[in-house]
């Protein structure tokens, strides 16, 4: 990688190269029965990791396990499950 003056990254869209999924210790699991597809989790997710749709789909390559989606879901459709279990 070429280091630029001020370490400014000039190629847009490179966030996709950072697979934040490796940070996760808890994984969000969506309960398809409760999910209404309202999209609130998609709005709050700080990574591009939970999609619009019914039920909402988590992209575990990027989901870092922060739990914001589970906290924000108005229908309590998301449970944070420790990695390695369930």
């Amino acid at each position: 990688m070429r280091i630029t003056v001020g370490a400014i990254v000039t190629d847009a869209g490179n966030t996709a190269q950072t697979e934040t999924g490796s940070w996760r210790t808890f994984r969000p699991v969506v309960d398809a029965k409760k999910c209404t597809g309202c999209g609130i989790c998609w709005i709050f997710c700080p990574e591009p990791a939970i999609g619009e749709g019914k039920p909402a789909v988590v992209d575990y390559k990027y989901c870092k396990g922060c739990g914001i989606c589970a906290n924000e879901c108005p229908f309590k459709a998301i449970t944070m499950v420790p990695e390695g279990r369930g």
Binding site: V5, G6, I8, V9
Partner: protein, 396 residues
């Protein structure tokens, strides 16, 4: 045109002449008058700029960083505690290589609370990757700020122009204010290579992982180090246009001097007159004024001081637990040089204490005795203490 200006007014007028686009600052004594004046220029329509009022110096520097990142010529001013509060963001500005220019009216640090002059504030941030210039008089403040923008924009480095609080900030003296047209020719508009621009998105301030951080730091160090040549070149260009130049250092009657004073800021002015008196009596005493502290002009200092028998470093700061910041670097300059002077450090003028010619004579006397005997009994001394403090054991 000559005008009678305080140091603060000279700084404000310089920023106006530089046609700054964004000013963000928080008031703090003794700097406040600079941004008050600039706010006035903006309110009166004399300066087309955005004046951003913020809730702290941390935010002021953050705003300057944002504005500079968008490509605007930016200015701020601060002093003392304000500079301390900014310090986190100073490293961001230099790390991002943004050409922010700041005036720092030098003032002591709390505690005890003290609003008067010394240089502990800017010395405390000497490692932050900012170019640091120290001014002797109000003309030099104005000229240095104009030069600072050229330096900053050509090297993509932030520049701090330091001048002594009150001694310069609040003292009026004649200053030659250049014509706007001339300044425009010296300081054309600039373009940041990768500004924040939705059309051409960039990431600024990414994570620098261990595999890359060190290289990025090394690039910054190299940039500040080689800034020396550029600063000298721009100073010469300024001299050709405006008839005044300052150099990285100035040698004043020091070329054949056995005892040389090394100092920076307004102390140089006090020392000059005294040097003349010594010279009149035929004593070989000289002065070297250091103007550029970062990058530290090692080569020029070795050239200027190498022949002396003793060098007395006078400074209004102290790196607590060591010596004065200037002394430490000046002594380091000679580490690999065979022929070197004895070095003595005199801490003085802290918290606005006057440094009189009598004090400076004491420094010259002590340095002179070291030159005669070849022995330095105590390298770091304090000038003008009211009571015998040094060496006393704290009573618990």
């Amino acid at each position: 045109m000559k005008q009678i200006l305080t140091g603060n007014e000279a700084a404000a007028i310089a920023a106006k002449l530089a046609r700054v686009k964004v000013i963000s600052a928080y008031p703090i004594t003794p700097q406040t008058a600079i941004v008050e004046k600039l706010a006035e220029f903006v309110a009166d329509g004399e300066l087309e700029a955005e004046f951003m009022k913020v809730e702290s110096e941390h935010s002021a520097m953050s705003a300057c960083i944002g504005a500079a990142a968008a490509g605007a010529r930016t200015f701020t001013a601060t002093s003392s505690q304000g500079l301390m509060l900014m310090s986190e963001m100073l490293y961001i500005a230099s790390g991002l290589r943004l050409p922010v220019v700041m005036a720092n009216a030098n003032r002591a640090l709390s505690s005890p609370l003290n609003i008067w002059c010394d240089q502990q504030d800017s010395m405390a941030v000497r490692d932050s990757g900012w170019v640091q210039l120290y001014c002797e008089d109000n003309q030099e403040i104005l000229d240095s700020i104009l030069q600072a923008y050229r330096v900053a924009e050509e090297l993509l480095l932030p520049v701090m122009v330091c001048f002594d609080g009150y001694i310069l900030s609040h003292t009026a003296e004649p200053v030659d204010v250049p014509e706007q047209g001339e300044v425009d020719k010296f300081l054309p508009p600039y373009e940041l290579p990768h500004p924040l621009d939705p059309e051409r998105p960039v990431t600024m301030g990414p994570v620098g992982v261990p595999e890359y951080y060190q290289e990025i730091r090394c690039m910054l160090q190299e940039a500040v180090r080689v800034a020396e040549d550029k600063i000298a070149e721009i100073d010469r260009a300024f001299g050709r246009r405006f008839g005044r130049r300052y150099g990285l250092i100035e040698r004043y009657r020091s070329d054949d001097a056995e005892v040389v004073l090394l100092t920076l800021g307004s102390l140089s002015g006090t020392a000059r007159g005294l040097i003349d008196r010594y010279r009149k009596r035929g004593e070989k005493v000289g002065l070297v004024k250091l103007r550029v502290f970062r990058p530290f002009p090692f080569g020029e200092l070795i050239d200027a001081l190498g022949h002396a028998k003793a060098v007395a470093v006078l400074e209004k700061d102290v790196s607590l637990g060591s010596g004065g910041a200037l002394f430490i670097d000046a002594a380091a300059a000679f580490i690999d040089v065979a022929r070197r002077p004895l070095m003595l450090n005199f801490i003085c003028g802290l918290g606005g204490r006057d440094v009189t010619q009598l004090d400076i004579r004491e420094a010259i006397r002590v340095a002179g005795r070291a030159a005669e005997t070849g022995v330095v009994r105590r390298a770091v001394r304090w000038l003008g203490l009211r009571e015998k403090i040094v060496g006393l054991r704290p009573k618990l």
